[in-house]
Every structure is written in structure tokens, then in C-alpha cells.
Symmetry: none
Subunit: 204 residues, 4 copies
């Protein structure tokens, strides 16, 4: 019974935390980190300013936790989906699709990742050393497996290639965000992978 009560309490607490995070994502995406006041976020979340500090240590921590939790979720979800795919080349394809589809589906979140995350070199480093490392690891494993199966050239350096793939996808997202967004981001997956897989040079 007490566990039930506590679980209800936890749900309520989590619920409010999520409400604040979602409000924050929305406001931060529009105004940027330094253009957003804590009061704005609190108002958007429908709580008092002080309430924010019951769930987050400070404004910085709020942004940090948003990025940390959302990317963590993304990586978990992605891992689960990818595991069910046999061929490493198909996995690579799915990987790119997931990246583009998920950021293309939530412009606010995309804005936070592409613009706000880069604000702060400390935050970038933290992100780079935790999430990006995991992200690269997944890619590396796929690439290595594909090499073992003879699908990818042996001379290719997996970690270097992981960076390239991330760089390409990252640029596509940023470009889309700065554009009129009159095309579906995920549609860029196929032509992009064509180049990565086959190169741009003609073989005649």
C-alpha cells in the first residue's frame, strides 16, 4: 500500500517534471537559451518560478537534463529497433532513417540539439563524452560487422566512418532547420546513403 502511494507520488512528481521539460523545450527552441528566462519556462509549464528548482538544480541543469534524457531515450529506442534487423547494411540504413525521422518529427527538440547544445563548450564536451560516444559505438559495431561479412571495405576505419556518418546526418538536420522546412527530413536518407555506400565517383 505504501509502495502504491509512493508510486503515485513518483508518477505525479515525474509528470510535473516532464511538463516542465516539455514547456522548456518549446520556449528554448523559440528564444534560445540566453533569450529565455526561467520565469518564461515556469509560466509556460504552469508552475511557479520556485517550483522549477524543486526538479532541477538550475537553468543549466534543466537544459542538460533535457538533452541527456531525450538522447538516452533515443539511443535506447534505436538500439531495440536495430537489434531486430539482420543485415548490417539494412541496420545502417535504418540507423540513418531513425536519426532523421526522430529529429524531423520534433522541430523544437531538433532546435535544442542543433543550436542550443552547441552553446556551451562544457555541455558539448559532456554530450560528446556520454551520448555521442554511445552513438558512435553503435555505428562502429554495425560497420565492423559489415566488414566481417565482406559488405564494407576492410580499409575503412570504423570510428572515423562513424564520425563521417554523424557529420553528414547532423548537417542535414541543421540545414533543414535553417531552411523553410518544406521537405521531409527523412527523405534525405536514401540519396545520402547512396553516396556513403557507393561514393560519388562514376565507374565506367
Amino acid at each position: 500500500m505504501s509502495s502504491h502511494v509512493s508510486s503515485v507520488r513518483n508518477n505525479k512528481k515525474t509528470e510535473k517534471k516532464i511538463r516542465i521539460q516539455e514547456a522548456a523545450i518549446h520556449v528554448l527552441a523559440r528564444n534560445g537559451y540566453h533569450g529565455t528566462t526561467v520565469s518564461q519556462i515556469a509560466k509556460a509549464a504552469g508552475v511557479a518560478d520556485g517550483t522549477l528548482y524543486l526538479y532541477f538544480e538550475n537553468k543549466d541543469d534543466l537544459l542538460l537534463k533535457i538533452i541527456h534524457e531525450r538522447t538516452g531515450q533515443f539511443i535506447e529506442d534505436g538500439r531495440a529497433i536495430l537489434e531486430s534487423i539482420e543485415s548490417p547494411m539494412d541496420r545502417l540504413h535504418k540507423f540513418a532513417e531513425l536519426h532523421l525521422a526522430s529529429l524531423g518529427a520534433d522541430e523544437d527538440l531538433a532546435c535544442i540539439f542543433q543550436i542550443e547544445l552547441r552553446h556551451n563548450i562544457r555541455m558539448m564536451k559532456n554530450f560528446s563524452e556520454t551520448r555521442l560516444r554511445k552513438y558512435f559505438n553503435i555505428l562502429e559495431i554495425i560497420i565492423t560487422e559489415a566488414q566481417e561479412q565482406g559488405r564494407i571495405r576492410k580499409e575503412i576505419e570504423p570510428r572515423h566512418t562513424a564520425k563521417l556518418i554523424f557529420g553528414v546526418l547532423d548537417e542535414l538536420v541543421t540545414n533543414w532547420l535553417l531552411s523553410e522546412r518544406d521537405y521531409a527530413l527523412v527523405d534525405m536518407a536514401d540519396p545520402t546513403l547512396d553516396i556513403l555506400f557507393n561514393g560519388i565517383t562514376s565507374r565506367t
Copy 2:
């Protein structure tokens, strides 16, 4: 005579402006835009706070002008160098080398481009619509020419490919900046181009 005086004056003016910009690049690279005060820049440049406003409209304008002028210079220099190269494939190669070499040679400037530029969505848009457009245009022309010469596949979309190439190079620079920087950035050019040119798939 008066023109001579004015030119001297201009030189003096330009000289001080450059001194301020160089001081700013150094300080901004270390502390970030929001971590740097106008006073700090002024002190580093050896001028009074108010003097800064004789050369730049405001703090934002200072960063904007630094990025604008340095990238303008880079593009002009690059264009000149590339014009002397016959083969479009060699030009492409040189292009990537120039990108990596110039940013790898000036860590402070690289920091400004990779981190500070992204602070501000307005600044990003401005950059994207002016400098990045020119940058992409150069790439597009090279790619188109290579296609005409049958060196690059006809199905390849030049603008899309330009984005990809920029994305890849951009990611390499950012990664290098966040790393220990114990390798030469320009050395990444060859393996990167190998992938872009030939793709990652094996052909057996």
C-alpha cells in the same frame, strides 16, 4: 596629399580594428560569447571600452564581422587557389584540404566557427545565407564540372552533395576541437575523401 593622409588614417583605423578583432577572437575562443565581456576584449586589445563602439555597432556586430570577414577572406583565398587547378577531382581534394588546414591552423578561429557561431539562430541564418551559400556554390560548380567530365556519377545531386561534404568536414573540425588535438586535422582529408569518392561498400 589629402588622399594620402586619408589612406594613412584608414590604415591606422583598419589596424586598430584588426587589433580589436584579433583580441576578440582570442578571448571569445577561451570564454565563449556569453562568458566574455566587452571590457575583457577592450583590455586585451589595449583600448578603452568605448573605443570598441567606434569600430563596431555592438558586441553582436563584433562577432558577426569577425565571422563575416574571416570567412570572406577564406573563400576569396580558396577561390584563387582552386582556379589554378585543372582537374575538378583534384580541386575537390584541394577544397577539403583547405578547409581542414585553415581551421586546423588557428584553433581560436576554429572555436569561433564551430561553437560560437551556432549560438544564435539569427547569426546562423545570416551565415548560412551568405557565406555558406557561396561555399556551396563553389562546391556545386566543381561537382557539376566533374559530372560533365564523367568523373562523378550523373545521378548525384550537386547541392545535396555539397551539403554532405560540408557536413563531413564540419564534423571533423568539431570533433578535433573537442578532442585532445593530438593529431593534424588536415591528415583526415585523404581517408575522408576516399569514402566520399569511392563509398564504403566493397566491390568484389
Copy 3:
């Protein structure tokens, strides 16, 4: 029976109130009034923040009541002890000893009296008009009695002298608190009274 229950209830209530006060004395002595939060006191007392307000009107009232009750107790105790002493000069001596001994025995409480009490001119006035008045009255009576017995000079103004004695003792306590506290406060009683009784001038 109901009176029994109520008395038990009162005891319980009193007990918790005292627990809060003791926790408060400890925390306030270390951190000072403005350096102490209500939460800290509540935590130290092992109760919820809100509980504090069932026993005290507000944070100010808590400090006020501590000082009021402790000094009230001290004065009652002192009065009882002094009554049993015949000679007014011995009473005066005992008085000084009590002052120094009781504050020297509880550094936390001493800290509250010497430092925290002075926070607030309103609190000071209140203290001065209630407790200090009583304190001075006791001294005055002793002095007057000693004058009647010819032990103290007739020209001496009792109230003025009461202030002097308090001032001297008060300074001794403050000095001790700010010192390394490597001596017993009560040991200052004798040399101090020697001066007050006999003056500093030599009579040869």
C-alpha cells in the same frame, strides 16, 4: 481524566517545542540568523518545515521566544539562588558569577545572546524593555540594600551602576566568544569585581 489527557498532550506539545528550540539554538549559533533557513532548523529538530509553524508564529518569533524563555528561566533561577544569600556584597559577587558561569557553560546560547540578539533593533528594544529591565532591577535592589548597610557609597547611582556591571559582564562574554575560549569565563569574575568594588586607583 480529560485534564490528565490534556496535560499529557501539553507535555508532548511542550516536548516537541523544546526539541525545536534546542535544534534552533544549535543551528543558529553556528550559522547566524540570516545564515540559517527554517528548513535547516526543522531538519535538525526532526520535524517537517510546516510543523515549526504550529509552535511558533514565524522565524522571528522562534528566536524571540528562545531568548525570552531562556532569559526568563535564567532570571528566575538566579533570583532563587540570590535570595538565599544574606550579604548584599556576596549577592553581587554571586550575581556576576552566575552571569558568567551560565553563559560560559553553553556556548551556543551565549552566541545567540551576544550576536544574534543584536540583529534587530526591534528585538533589542524588546529585550531591553523586558528582560534587561528585570535584570537591572535585581541589581538595583542589591546595590540599594548595600548602600543602606553602608557597604556601597551613597553617591553611587544604583541604576547607572547596574548598567555598568551589565556592560562589563557583557563585554567579557563577547570577548570570550570571539577568542579561542581557552580560559574559563567564570574565572574573570574575581578580578572584575575587585575593580568594580575597589576601583583602579591606588591609595597610598
Copy 4:
């Protein structure tokens, strides 16, 4: 010439600093340290909030500097006056008069010393270790000299006596501040010194 300019500048700077300090003394005496906002002080001084921070590190530093400078001045002035007095007993008398007269002449400053200074244990310690030490030293020297001349009893411990004298004077000031102030503080000097010199016991 440049020295003249600089001296004018210094005067101007000093002048504004003093203006701020005087405004602060006035406001702090009425509202107490924690009851006074920086804005209130700035407005009372006729400057902008930020200007205050050109002259003082922070609110704390402002109070600290007021106390430090005023007591420093008081001690210097006092020393000069006392030096011109031959007899150590007369010096002692003058000393007490100076203490009471100077604080009795500036109620605001007195309030700061008697109430605000005690707020903060850190400030008290600082004051005790710098100003109070000097103050005690002056007293000690006078007392020792008087002992050598056979005017004060040999058994008297000079430092202990210095504390007593300070304690007595301090209490007189505080009492006066908390009273209706319908008497001249300096008039307390004579009866007080009578007791300190001759003691309270009758000699018949």
C-alpha cells in the same frame, strides 16, 4: 599638471565614495543591514545602483569599509588629542569622553557600531582583530604608564582593565541608543569614571 588632473580626479572619486558612505550610514542606521537594499542606498546617494559597485566590492564590503574607515579616523584623531595630555589619569578621562562624545554626536554612526556591526560574526572578528586591538592597546599603554607613576594599583591587569572600560562605555552607548536619548551621552563620563577609579565600596 597631470598630477593636478589626477588629484582632481581622486578628489572627485573620493567625494562620490564619501557621498555613498554617508547615504549608507543614514539608511543602514534606520533600516538595519538586512532591511536595507542596495537600491535604497544608491537612491539616497543620488547615484545608479551599478555605480555603487565601482567603489565597493559588494554590500558587505560597503558596511565593512564604513566601519573600518570611521573607526580608523576616530582612533587617529583620538591618539593625536591624547598625546597632548600629560597626566595618564587625565588621558584616561579624556579617552572616555572622546568615546562617548563622538558616538553621541552621530546617532546614525553609533547605530551602525552598536547594532549593525554585531550582526555578523565575521565582521565582528575582523573589527575585534584590527580596530578593537588598537583601541585596547592605547588604553593599555595609558594604564601601564599610570601604574608606573603609582596612580593605578600594581595588581590591576592592564588588558583586562581595557576590556572592562570598553565594555562599560559600549554598554552606555547602546543603552543610550535604545533609550529616548533625552540626555547627553557624554555626561555619563564623570560618574562612570568615578566608579572605575574609586570603586563602588565605601571606605569609612
